[in-house]
């Protein structure tokens, strides 16, 4: 699998691609943090909402939480990226070419997933750092106390936030890979994924409260805002673990069994 990851890195570490990715991550992190800080209001945060209170942002972890809360809105892009990353290999026919050099379909799929997760993890770290910086600049103007943001506790909180972000990322990555492998078409896969993770989950959740406890997209979102989530982190992780295991199993089965060429 190491060879597959190294091969993927040839694509992902191109200078221009990395520059665009970094630029996007900085813009997204900074934008997310700015939205969090500028929309923060005094008082307790509403359950099920990503909006943070001024009190929550004034704690040690407020700096990174500012970026983290709004990153959840980027889930659809992350989901779409993984769907397109896998489905595109089939649409272009490159999966066939890769298989001729590396006949293990499982290694190919897993290596690709790990490499893409690595890239996204790096991009999210950049986004969190840039978000912290922007939040630090804007917070005083909103009456947010930033005196604890540079403390050791803040570092610990940042670590925990990043850990949650990684679980969130891996969850979307596995679900996106499964959709991409099943659809084998970028437009079909991305459309189906986005319709489900975007309007469908949220519209249903508006009228049916248990959706927050059962729908994978909403559960993943709850990981990033545990203080306002309607489901505990432990329960969310357990349910998501089941979803990811099923998704990974289906993706593996589909890729292993289906023909890759010919008609």
């Amino acid at each position: 699998m190491i060879r597959v990851i190294r091969a993927e890195m040839v694509k992902l570490t191109r200078r221009r691609f990395m520059a665009y990715t970094a630029l996007g991550a900085v813009a997204f992190g900074a934008g997310s943090a700015a939205i969090s800080v500028l929309t923060a209001e005094s008082g307790a945060a509403r359950r099920g909402s990503e909006l943070l209170s001024i009190e929550a942002l004034s704690t040690a972890g407020g700096g990174t939480a500012a970026a983290l809360g709004a990153v959840a809105f980027g889930a659809v892009f992350m989901f779409a990226a993984f769907i397109a990353g896998v489905a595109g290999e089939f649409t272009r026919g490159t999966f066939r070419t890769l298989l001729l050099a590396q006949p293990s379909r499982m290694k190919l799929l897993a290596g690709k997933l790990v490499a893409l997760i690595g890239l996204c993890a790096a991009a999210l770290a950049v986004a969190e750092l840039s978000g912290w910086g922007v939040a630090r600049l804007l917070a005083p103007g909103q009456g947010i106390d930033v005196s604890q943001w540079g403390s050791l506790d803040a570092l610990g909180a940042a670590g925990e936030d990043y850990g949650r972000l990684m679980i969130w990322l891996v969850g979307w990555a596995i679900l996106g890979t499964a959709v991409g492998a099943i659809a084998r078409s970028v437009p079909v896969g991305v459309l189906a994924g986005l319709v489900w993770a975007g309007p469908v989950e949220n519209v249903i959740a508006d009228g049916w409260e248990p959706a927050q406890r059962w729908f994978p997209g909403l559960l993943l979102r709850s990981l990033l805002s545990p203080e306002t989530a309607v489901v505990s982190t432990t329960r969310a992780l357990a349910t998501l673990g089941c979803y990811c295991a099923v998704a990974a199993g289906i993706a593996a089965g589909v890729v292993q069994r289906r023909d890759v060429a010919g008609a």
């Binding site: 060879r3 597959v4 190294r6 091969a7 993927e8 890195m9 040839v10 694509k11 191109r14 691609f17 272009r92 026919g93 490159t94 066939r96 070419t97 890769l98 298989l99 001729l100 050099a101 590396q102 006949p103 293990s104 069994r257 023909d259 890759v260 060429a261 010919g262 008609a263």
Partner: protein, 312 residues
């Protein structure tokens, strides 16, 4: 070019069948490709060539049937693919990557020597375009990069699916020359085409299929001989043409006069003795021959006859 046949064929397929619901793409196909040969895999569009090749390479699972590639069972592609280079269904590479980056990616994946990239780019004539993006390549350049990718593995067996597809005559010539060069190194080349005339010049062995079934398998020169050959004869004096026609007909030759030229057709191809006999008879009759040239004009016709024979 001679056919080198070892005891173990490079490819052996036995009763291979691929069925897609009601459509049978490959139907109980059995064939062999001798080691060291340049085998042309010929069939009309939709005959099942690509599906057969995909099954050979582990990309498509046969419905039934077995086979071996380089002595390894078909269902263990991980054991034979490192020794095989293939271009199937056209060159599928990353459009945003340069030619060199695409090859580097495949070299990493297949644990190939990255130093070999320049050599294969040179070989396919893309040394000076290796840093251009794949999407900016012409169709011919894309095909050549696909061949370069197949050559990265330094393969014992090279499988090329319609490598001249979409190319202009110059591009076709280039690809044919490249295949001939590769074959001269002793590698086995298995190349498909829907046009016999495109590749017959470089093939030592032919496998022809139609509707998923084999219709011919054997040495290329045998097929060419079976196709029948003609000799074109032009006497020095025009009024000798009719006289020579009568003379040769009386001697039992299938001679026919067209536009001041005499054509003699042989079912099994002209041997040196028969050609000499014609020349001697003409000389004895006082006819001076200005031109006497063997021609292979019936090849495509013979191929079409085979296809039509199966179809009917």
């Amino acid at each position: 070019m001679t056919t080198t046949t070892s005891s173990e064929p490079a490819i052996r397929l036995v009763g291979l069948t691929k069925r897609y619901r009601t459509h049978v793409a490959v139907d109980d196909l059995s064939m062999e490709v001798p080691s060291g040969s340049v085998t042309g895999f010929i069939g009309p569009n939709g005959a099942g060539k690509t599906t057969t090749m995909a099954m050979m390479l582990g990309l498509v699972k046969p419905t039934t049937g077995t086979g071996r590639v380089l002595g390894v069972p078909l269902d263990e592609p991980a054991r034979f693919l490192p020794r095989v280079g293939a271009l199937i269904e056209g060159p599928a590479l990353y459009p945003a990557l340069t030619g060199r980056e695409n090859l580097r990616l495949l070299a990493e994946l297949g644990r190939r020597d990255r130093d070999g990239i320049d050599a294969v780019l040179q070989r396919v004539g893309l040394a000076d375009r290796g840093d251009d993006r794949f999407k900016d390549y012409s169709l011919g350049m894309k095909q050549r990069l696909g061949v370069a990718a197949a050559l990265l593995a330094d393969p014992e067996l090279l499988v090329l699916d319609e490598p001249t597809n979409g190319l202009d005559p110059a591009g076709m010539h280039e690809v044919r020359r490249l295949i001939a060069d590769i074959a001269a190194e002793g590698r086995t080349v298995f190349v498909s085409s829907h046009l016999l005339s495109e590749i017959e010049q470089i093939c030592t062995w032919l496998v022809m299929i139609n509707r998923g079934r084999e219709i011919y398998s054997g040495p290329a020169d045998e097929f060419i001989a079976d196709a029948g050959t003609t000799i074109s004869i032009v006497p020095e004096r025009d009024d000798d043409t009719a006289r020579l026609e009568v003379l040769l007909r009386e001697a039992g030759y299938a001679a026919e006069r067209t536009h001041g030229r005499l054509t003699v057709t042989f079912d099994d191809g002209p041997s040196r003795a028969l050609t000499a006999d014609i020349n001697r008879r003409a000389h004895d009759a006082g006819v001076v021959i200005a031109e006497l040239a063997p021609q292979r004009t019936n090849l495509e016709h013979h191929y079409l006859q085979l296809i039509e024979g199966v179809a009917s």
